[in-house]
Amino acid sequence: MVLGGGTGGTIAANRLRRTYGSGEAEIVVVDADDEHVYQPGLLFVPFGLADPGRLVRPRHRQLRPGISFREAGIDRVDLPADQVHLDDGTALGYDVLVIATGARLLPEETEGLTGPGWMDSVFTFYTPDGAAALRGALERFSGGRLVVNVVDMPVKCPVAPLEFCFLADRYFRRRGIRDRVQLSYVTPLDGAFTKPVCNRELSGLLTQRGIELVTEFNTGTVQGRGDGAGGPRLVSYDDREVPFDLAVVVPLHGGAAYVDRSPGLGDDLGFIPVDRHTLQATAKPNIFAIGDATDVPTSKAGSVAHFEGETVTSSIRAYLDGLPVTGDFDGHTNCFIETGGGKALLVDFNYDTEPLPGHYPARLGLPLLRESRLNHLGKLAFQQLYWHSLLPGRDLPGISAAMPLRGKTGLPDARVNGKTTRPGGKEAAGHSQAS
């Protein structure tokens, strides 16, 4: 049973269906609705570069024949009984459970965020409705201070808020009012991005475009309308203030609500603790997780769900065959970072290797960590690839789940010999960020 019919759930179900004949396994995908949103497209909606209606397709149509789709909300998972309780009162048993219900936006957890000014002077582009409403607000915006704020990590696609800044810069230039707009990027992190190498590159891009960077800002309150104490503003927990005329806020994220109602399943934020190489849940051996729903220390991004697809399938296969579950997911992530004006950057990294310059996936591929037109075209082409190759669970030619090292430069000596990285030891991966 696969909970969630988004990127990760669809890939997992389709890969499992190809692995097992119809007599061998019954596969059911459960989701609360039948609308699969191409989430990377939401970034373009506020600038009139994408139509929200065209980003949505029916979930069930992305599933291979022989997979049943059940449209129902999930109440909770009963781990000891191996059962999922649905909102309609039915209980469904499973042999293996795959959790792919992604991350949920929690705007109501930030004081004032959904209060006065919400969807008027304060928006998010992380939902189709929010992105569409922001488009209208940007069209009406004739000058003043536009603030882009990430409340706290983790968030889906951590580069999207930066991309929003770059696209906004371009958008206002095109409208001829850039000199009347003050753009600020306000982040809880101590730099523009979570990885030091990217940080250097991306901070430079912000400076070049005249975008102010405010770091280590932990938003406590969003004051969407002016009051006696001042105009609309973000207020941090340590009482710093950032005034705005228009705020684009990426709200707190947590796991799906039913995870909180399922004792033993999730962590304090509702994400599923899993082994970071096998994606098997620490809660119980017959539970696996994929995509944004997991707690693995890498970005919450579609590319990660794609690369995890192979691992989750082989882990489940090993489990059902009674073999040791020995996965080798290395945390491979790659993202196109739209920098405006028809250009984009590409970054590629994993648990153990920082984003490096060079080319992807090999020497003659797309340039890494450098703005180029080719990367922008790659990002645009990706939408078709998403529906027609990625979701069906096909391997993309030349794109392996393990992070490639060929084509990259500036590698640590020890890594030059191997073609791909191998999972490292138990040492915690990723760059530390906390405040």
Partner: protein
């Protein structure tokens, strides 16, 4: 890696001042580390957070982030910032002798 002396004992810390071995920490060291972070007196509420940080680190292998602290430590985020103005998770982790909490990417 630099060595520092707390409570008469030499311990090694990383470049940012976090303990490299949490087992080397004792409760007697905490007030001295706190002083260096600008906290002159550790109250009962500070200690509640410090002990919680160590407990979480021992259970999970990483200290909690501010958001998780606010949800689970019994001390709300606003108060955490009053107790540890320079950043609750980082400063409390340093005083508690555990590594810098691993945030998210």
């Amino acid at each position: 890696m630099p060595d520092v002396t707390y409570d008469g004992q030499t311990v090694s810390v990383n470049d940012e001042g976090f303990f490299t071995d949490s087992a080397a920490w004792t409760e007697q060291m905490a007030p001295q580390i706190a002083k260096a972070e600008g906290i002159d007196h550790l109250t009962g509420r500070h200690w509640q957070v410090i002990r919680f940080m160590r407990h979480e680190y021992q259970a999970k292998g990483t200290g909690p982030t501010v958001r998780v602290l606010g949800k689970t430590s019994g001390v709300p985020v606003k108060e955490l910032y009053q107790l540890f103005p320079k950043g609750p998770a980082k400063v409390a982790a340093k005083i508690a002798g555990i590594p810098k909490p691993r945030g998210c990417i």
